[in-house]
């Protein structure tokens, strides 16, 4: 959050640092099933974010004592590659931030996957951030959703995620890294589009009650575009069987 010494100007002449309007999300491209070995996968480029999501399963739950005879369990691992950020070299593997993110992402998919269709099994979701530029958990969830669908896993909805935040008196969609670092608040949200249920919401900073209402409204509106990109990616993968899993 805003703590550094040289805070950059985030809004110039009513436009954001990258020229976007407040309700405009960054360019978004999703490819379904880019990986051969995984049961399902997706690659997303969202602004400068480049993220791969892969799904393995349903397969036998291990260790065995974790398996649930009444339903499938979901495991999720979100990690950032050591070279993924502009700052110094990250350590490989999970840290406290990524463990928390993995947990809340897992909970998003526990809601939508028809777990009782696959008793005793586990479904692994792997999210690898190859290049990160703000909003990686939202992009990761959006990709993981497509990966699960491309694995043929039964879901009651295809959730998407996008973040919203506040810069001064302005609410704005989908922060990039600079905005994320210096904004007054950043709020990733995941939504089940069929009934607009909020499946993930994390917030810190400073927001009034009215600003929170407006923020939720903006997410649901901008989400249509994300949701469409997900469905288009799946359609394309299945129209072109060579691109689908062989």
């Amino acid at each position: 959050m805003a703590s550094s010494l040289n805070k950059p100007e985030l809004i110039v002449n009513g436009k954001r640092t990258d020229g976007r309007d407040f309700d405009e999300i960054r360019p978004l491209k999703i490819v379904a099933s880019p990986l051969k070995n995984a049961d399902g996968s997706a690659y997303i480029e969202w602004g400068n974010n480049k993220i791969l999501a892969a799904v393995y399963g349903p397969r036998e739950a291990t260790p065995r004592h974790l398996s649930d005879p009444s339903k499938a369990i979901i495991k999720c691992r979100y990690t950032m590659a050591p070279f993924s950020s502009l700052s110094e070299h990250n350590r490989t593997g999970p840290n406290r931030r990524s463990i928390e993110i993995s947990k809340v992402i897992k909970e998003v998919f526990e809601n939508v996957v028809m777990l009782t269709d696959f008793p005793g099994s586990q479904i692994d979701i792997f999210i690898e951030v190859l290049q990160g530029d703000g909003g990686t958990r939202a992009a990761g969830i959006t990709a993981a959703s497509v990966a699960l669908a491309s694995a043929g896993i039964h879901m009651r909805d295809l959730p998407y995620a996008v973040s919203v935040g506040r810069i001064g008196e302005h609410l704005a969609m989908d922060f990039n890294m600079i905005e994320d670092n210096y904004s007054d608040s950043d709020i990733p949200m995941a939504i089940a589009p069929r009934n607009n249920e909020i499946l993930l919401l994390q917030m810190d900073g400073d927001m009034s009650r009215e600003q929170m209402s407006k923020a939720m409204e903006m997410v649901i509106k901008a989400g249509e575009q994300v949701s469409t990109a997900q469905k288009d990616a799946l359609r394309e993968a299945y129209a072109n069987k060579a691109g689908a899993k062989q």
């Binding site: 909970e107 919401l201 927001m207 009034s208 929170m212």
Partner: protein
């Protein structure tokens, strides 16, 4: 979930469908809150919070460290949490679980986003600033760790005295100055059980819950939020929860202030 859990969660669910709770509370009522500060004399600050049968001890230590590169004129605050095996049959030894990490980070974010600890005041001299370590020790678990932990951390910070620093030495026996705390945030956690939204869920109610929402705020602003568990909330529900959390703020703040010595 074993057989006993199944029985307990269906009991809690059936009660809530009638609008009742296992401890006969109102849906949006906290359990009795008891806070005692200054109980660990060796710590720079401490607070024990009893929220019903949930008991969390927060201890604060302050160490001199090199400031972070991007904030050379500030100290820092770090919140960690341990779900001790003595607190519940379901807690195990080993590295921190995702639950413990989420717990610590949610408490940390509320206090951090609320600018509660004055980080500039922790600067000592070129290359030296205090780091304030808040450790949350869960001693007995019966649900709603987030609020018990949030209240404990905040109360322990209010109780904290910064050690004396003289001739390049830290003298821990003397704490001439109180830690500068600029703001007080209060946490409020809700759970959705059988489509009813309740405040301050017990352990059984949490097991039966589909979704959880924690809101930390001060008098004017929402400072942090975290949705948990597999279920969801609708926009209008979130708005209502924010209203309730604002309504509980003064009461919780009063309890924390009264506990200060």
């Amino acid at each position: 979930m074993d057989a006993i859990d199944t029985v307990k969660t269906s009991y809690v669910r059936e009660l809530l469908m009638k609008g009742e709770r296992e401890d006969s509370r109102q849906l949006l009522e906290f359990r009795p809150i008891k806070i005692e500060t200054g109980i660990i004399k060796n710590a720079e600050g401490s607070a024990m919070v009893d929220l019903g049968a949930t008991r969390v001890l927060a201890g604060v230590k302050t160490d001199l460290n090199e400031p972070m590169e991007d904030t050379p004129n500030q100290g820092n605050m770090v919140v960690s949490a341990e779900l001790l095996p003595l607190a519940s049959a379901s807690y195990e030894t080993g590295p921190p679980s995702p639950e413990a990490i989420e717990f610590a980070r949610v408490v940390d974010r509320g206090i951090r986003a609320g600018n509660c600890v004055n980080l500039e005041s922790l600067f000592v001299e070129e290359g030296k600033a205090w780091t304030v370590y808040v450790d949350l020790y869960v001693l007995n678990f019966n649900g709603n760790l987030f609020d018990a932990g949030g209240l404990a951390a905040m109360s322990a910070l209010l109780d904290t005295g910064v050690p004396k620093y003289e001739d390049s030495k830290v003298i821990r026996e003397e704490r001439p100055n109180k830690l500068k705390v600029d703001n007080i945030v209060t946490p409020t956690t809700f759970a959705k059980v059988a489509d009813k939204i309740i405040l301050d869920p017990t352990g059984n109610e949490e097991k039966a819950a589909s979704a959880r929402m924690t809101i930390a705020l001060d008098k004017e602003s929402v400072r942090s939020m975290q949705k948990g568990l597999g279920g969801g909330f609708y926009k209008n529900e979130v708005e209502e929860l924010i209203d309730v959390a604002f309504n509980k703020h003064e009461e919780l703040k009063g309890i924390m202030k009264k506990a200060q010595k």
